[in-house]
């Protein structure tokens, strides 16, 4: 009665094993290779050394961020973002990069300002949430110079999770039946246990990710406070990882409380000491976003010529991030933003 299934018995099965061709497939472009063995071949070679990885943002960009690479930025658009490194990407005039657009707001605005991108996996782009839409990012996208593939925020975190787990795809129960799916590179699959439909999402291994954290040691052991957004998955999926950190702490401090390590050192390629490094974005428990300055960005973008002058003043004619902070009001302004964050009363 209960015949044991052998591999041979399964060959003349009553269930088809080939993927059902009648199930919908997204027609969007797939940026990157979802093969986990290609990723394993890369990670086999990646250094495991617990060495001093400190460097400046400029060196980190020169060494790890190349024209044409697939870039991902941690945090949430205008919250806990690695602004120091993004500015250096613009000054280094990087081009033709692919980008992970999961609630990309000020980070996306910057990369569009530098015309750094030609492919974007888009879940949320061109907007800055309640602040409004970026006129320049819209010009860039509406011009057609960037190839898009549509996803949802959850879809992109599932793609990173699949990569982090060494799988070629992950599953999702949203996107079904919509144009968001039709313009994605997902495929509808049927569950072998229940027959229910899900969207299979290709694993995503970004070439390089940049994540801003609260504390890290010189080896890259890093601590994130507050929400982690998708950064735990992203740090494991990215082939190269640049950490920018508000504070450097001794390795012994990490070892005294290892529960708090969000990202272990062997994932990390560079550690950039970047106090106030998320400015003008919010850094939880440290400083709030500079809404006035972000409004200046949105206003300046309305007129392309004015925006070019604005970019020269704040990015291209500026030597480093410290000079940018000075231009934006320096320590006085940062102290106000710190008060706004830390003295908020419920």
């Amino acid at each position: 009665m209960h015949r044991q299934a052998t591999p041979n018995a399964l060959e003349d099965q009553q269930f088809p094993v080939s993927p059902s061709l009648d199930l919908p497939q997204g027609g969007g472009p797939l940026f990157g290779d979802p093969d986990p063995d290609a990723a394993r071949a890369f990670f086999m070679e990646k250094s495991r050394a617990e060495t001093d990885k400190r460097m400046g943002p400029k060196e980190a960009v020169e060494r790890f961020i190349t024209d044409g690479c697939y870039l991902a930025i941690g945090g949430f658009g205008s919250n806990r973002i690695p602004t120091t490194v993004i500015h250096e990407i613009l000054r280094a005039r990087r081009r033709d990069m692919a980008f992970l657009g999961h609630t990309a707001t000020h980070d996306f605005q910057l990369l569009c300002a530098g015309h750094c991108l030609n492919r974007v996996d888009a879940a949320y782009i061109v907007g800055l949430e309640a602040r409004g839409l970026s006129a320049n990012a819209r010009r860039v996208i509406q011009s057609g110079e960037v190839e898009l593939c549509e996803w949802t925020n959850h879809a992109l975190s599932v793609r990173l999770q699949a990569a982090a787990a060494g799988l070629s795809y992950g599953l999702l129960r949203s996107m079904l039946g919509t144009d968001t799916f039709r313009r994605s590179a997902g495929k509808v699959v049927r569950c072998p246990f229940t027959g229910k439909k899900f969207v299979a999402l290709p694993a995503l291994w970004p070439d390089v990710a940049v994540i801003h954290v609260h504390e890290a040691d010189m080896f890259g052991n890093a601590r994130i406070k507050g929400i982690s957004v998708a950064d735990l998955e992203l740090s494991r999926a990215a082939k190269r990882l640049i950490i920018t950190t508000e504070r450097l702490v001794p390795n012994l401090e990490i070892r005294q409380d290892p529960t708090r390590t969000s990202i272990p050192y062997y994932l990390v390629d560079a550690v950039v000491h970047a106090p106030f490094g998320s400015y003008p974005g919010n850094m939880p428990y440290e400083y709030f976003s500079d809404e006035e300055h972000l409004r200046d960005w949105l206003n300046a973008e309305k007129d392309p010529e004015e925006f070019a002058r604005f970019l020269d003043k704040y990015i291209y004619q500026v030597a480093d991030f410290n000079e940018y902070l000075q231009l934006c009001g320096g320590l006085d302004r940062l102290r106000e933003l710190r008060d706004l964050e830390c003295l908020a009363e419920g």
């Binding site: 945090g75 949430f76 658009g77 205008s78 919250n79 657009g101 999961h102 609630t103 707001t105 879940a123 949320y124 782009i125 061109v126 907007g127 949430e129 309640a130 839409l133 819209r138 996208i141 509406q142 011009s143 057609g144 549509e150 996803w151 949802t152 925020n153 959850h154 975190s157 599932v158 999770q161 129960r173 949203s174 996107m175 079904l176 039946g177 919509t178 144009d179 968001t180 313009r183 509808v188 229910k196 439909k197 899900f198 406070k225 507050g226 929400i227 982690s228 957004v229 998708a230 950064d231 998955e233 919010n282 939880p284 428990y285 709030f288 976003s289 809404e291 908020a344 009363e345 419920g346």
Partner: protein, 257 residues
Amino acid sequence: MSAPYNMMEMMICASARLLEDGRTVAVGTGAPCAAAMLAQKTHAPNLMIAFEAGGLAPRLSRMPISVGDSCTFYQADCAASMAEMMTTCARGMIDYAFLGGAQIDQYGNLNSTSVGDYNKPKVRFPGSGGANDFASLCWRTMIMTVHNRSRFVEKVEFLTSPGYLGGPGEREEAGLPPNTGPYKIITDLAILGFDPLSKAIRVESLHPGVSLETVRENTSFELSAVSDLGETAPPLPGELEVLRREVDPEGLIIGRA
């Protein structure tokens, strides 16, 4: 006699009343967040508010500017991750979600992606963000929007987030979880719901001073109404006081109308 109020206050109060105590709600920034805060400070003190970037059950001290800024997990029960929040929706533990969009059709499908040719759009909007996930996975989706013909369209130019897709049974056929879908639409003219059989939008109550004709004139598709069409209760003085003093003292949302 009720105090004078504006249409944004009307929309926020009407939306807040739909949120039951002890339930869970996914919100974004702006008016939906104001509605959830108002509900929490009035009839629904045990309403759990969830933000897509991972802030769960915060004590909202002020209106967030971003669904990932530090207000969204201020004195929260849990500061987690996007995966934590989204899988909570997928497990069936988020009751309500609030969405908006540039266009909405008769089945409650939403466009927040683009208008015109997709590859070279006339206007590009942000895209799904988490909206498609919420519209797919939360039990009852609510939509807050201004009511005019360019919003309420025959056909959305890009179907970003699912309503009832092409009609009855289509959500289930596509693979979306059963018994989910759009629940109410709160506009500056009326509260709308969905016909249980046809799954098409219908008018359920008119805001004070608004006629059914006005609602129809501002809608590009044919619009039915329930037979016992009533009037939306205007904001109560107590609701307005909490809304103006505690929820949005700077008038960031209610000052706009």
